[in-house]
Structure formats: C-alpha cells, structure tokens
C-alpha cells in the first residue's frame, strides 16, 4: 500500500516538474511550481519525513510562488511598454 503511494507521488512529481519546466509563461510557471511543491510535500510525508514535508509545504508551495508572482507583476506593469501587456493591469489597480 505504502509503496504504491510512493509510486503515485513520484509519478506526480515527475509530471508536475516536467510541465513546470516546459511552461513558457512565468505566472503559470509559478502556479505549476506550487503544484510541484505540494506533490513533493506529499511524497516526503509518504516517505515518513514530516519535518521536510512541512518546510516544503511552507516554502515551496506558498512562499516561492508568491515571490515569483509579485516579481512578475512588478516587471510586467511598466508604463513605458506602451499598451501591449502592462497597461491593462495598471488601470485595474
């Protein structure tokens, strides 16, 4: 039963990591990174490493994607870029 769970968790981690690496849009990449972090913390918990699972859940799933999303938001909000991608977000704020 436990080995079966480990197999599923490893497969999910590999899949999520591949999708995150192949994603081109940084915002989507951050979301995939959060999903990958969640998969990794499940894997650690199944492998009986709750300490690492807790750290992974807090940092990999919540903090790192949040920092990436904040950076993406700041970088794409340049008013000098004319009207292609940044302006819409700037107005909505």
């Amino acid at each position: 039963m436990s080995e079966w769970l480990v197999g599923v968790a490893v497969a999910f981690v590999v899949l999520a990591a591949t999708v995150a690496a192949l994603c081109r849009d940084p915002a989507r990449q951050a979301v995939m990174l959060a999903v990958l972090g969640l998969g990794l913390s499940v894997l650690f918990a199944v492998l009986q490493a709750p300490d690492v699972a807790l750290s992974q859940l807090a940092v990999g799933t919540a903090l790192t994607p949040l920092l990436i999303l904040l950076t993406v938001r700041k970088v794409t909000r340049r008013p000098t870029s004319g009207g292609d991608d940044g302006d819409g977000k700037d107005q909505s704020r």
Binding site: P50, D51, S55, L63, L67, R73, P79, T80
Partner: protein
C-alpha cells in the same frame, strides 16, 4: 559559445555525473529495507541527548554547524533583498488605498490569525519533540501576519508589522545562534556543543541547547521572511516608476 559547444559540454558533464552517481548508488542500502546504518547511529545519539525528534537532534545538535550556514543563507538573502529593493531615486511611493473586503473574508482572517500565530509558536516550541522546529514554525508565523492583507487591506498589514523592530530582531536572532555556539566553545570546549542541562526525555525543556537554538531560528525566520515579503509587496503595491508622472 555556440549552441553546439554548449550541447557537447552538457552531454560530457551529464555522462560524468551519471557515471559517478551510479557508482556511488551501488553501495547505498536498498530502498525500503530494514538496514539503516546512519539512522540507527542518529537515533542513538539523539536518545543520548534526550531529544525525542531525531531530525531536530541532527539539525540543531549533531550537525548544528550546517544549520548555522543555512540560517546565514536566509539572513544574507534578506540583506540582499533589502539592499536591492530600496527606494531608488526615480521611484515614487504611493500610500496604499483602503479596500472593501467581504465581511466573511474579514471574519475568516480575524478568527484564523490568532490560531495560526499560536500554531506557529507551538511548532517552534515543540521542535525537539514533534515534527517541525524553528524554521517551519517561523514560516507559519510570517504567513500568519499576512492574513491581515487577505482579510483587510495593505494599510492594516503595514500597521501590524513594525519593520524596524523586525530588522533588529532578525539580526539579533541570527547573531544569537553564533553566540550560543561560542558559549558552547567556552563552557564545553567545542563550538555549538550541547552544554545546557538535558532535562527529562519527551518534556518541552529537554534537549539542552536545542529549544534555545530553535527559538533563535524561529525569530530569525519569522522576522526575516516578513521583511523579505514586505520589500516584495512594497514593490508591487506602493512603489512605481516616476516616468508615469513625467509622461503627462
């Protein structure tokens, strides 16, 4: 460097690493077996220091010097972010506006914030007994404060996070890890030696220096992460380039 050279270098490096990794893995105990040479030694060492959580014992007692390095990484990160994300000459700071929040969201934050804070302190304080410790608990404490931004607005968050105090707390906590280590050097003859009374096994006061180091790391991680997030959030919410004003 052309794409072809890069590919060749990548393939050579991958082959070398793969060969050494495979050679190293042949000596490793089989996955899922009952033979854990390192685990058995770590459990014996942790029990000798009356620490229930063996992982904490490895991190903060047997290999506390490694944790000092990791803690310094976080401190340097916060320092670097503070330095890079300071207000530049061509940037303006706008006061954040008050925002309307759904009453249910506000209730959610008001109920959840004290619970999360208590959970964070619990995880830091029980690092020597149960999964968790200074690092995990510190992250929980830092996120708990940001519930104010979710449940209210940025002005409330700014009011409940005194950045100057947190900056000082971060530095003091980072320094106190080294000071505890030096105390071990003076009292016991080795840097970061566990010199405090070990207490009773499975009690909150057990483990000697372990709870003290956990508390130091907890304060450092919590205040460091709040400061780090504050700089990122300021950039996203408050600070804009001044060319938006100069444009008209």
């Amino acid at each position: 460097m052309t794409a072809r050279t890069r590919l060749v270098m990548f393939l050579v490096a991958t082959t070398v690493i793969a060969a050494f990794f495979t050679a190293a893995c042949t000596e490793v105990p089989r996955f899922g077996s009952d033979f854990h040479p390192y685990g058995q030694r770590a459990v014996t060492a942790a029990l000798a220091h009356r620490t229930a959580n063996v992982v904490s014992s490895v991190n903060f007692d047997i290999r506390a010097f490694d944790t000092l390095g990791e803690e310094s990484i976080l401190f340097t990160t916060v320092l670097g972010a503070t330095l890079l994300l300071r207000l530049a000459r061509d940037e303006r700071e706008h006061p954040p506006a008050a925002e309307r929040v759904l009453p249910t969201t506000r209730l959610f934050g008001t109920v959840l914030m004290p619970i999360t804070l208590v959970v964070g302190v619990y995880i830091v304080a029980h690092g020597q007994l149960s999964p968790g410790g200074g690092f995990q608990g510190g992250v929980v404490l830092a996120t708990a404060l940001h519930l104010a931004y979710v449940a209210a607005d940025y002005r409330v968050l700014e009011r409940i996070r005194p950045l100057t105090v947190l900056d000082v707390a971060d530095s003091l906590a980072a320094a106190s890890f080294t000071i505890i280590g030096l105390a071990g050097l003076i009292a016991g003859g080795a840097f970061l030696k566990n010199v405090l009374p070990l207490g009773t096994f499975n009690q909150i006061t057990s483990g000697g220096t372990l709870p003290v180091l956990n508390a130091a790391v907890g304060v450092e991680v919590a205040s460091g992460l709040i400061v780090l997030l504050a700089h990122f959030l300021d950039q996203a919410v408050e600070i804009t380039d001044s060319d938006s004003q100069e444009a008209h």
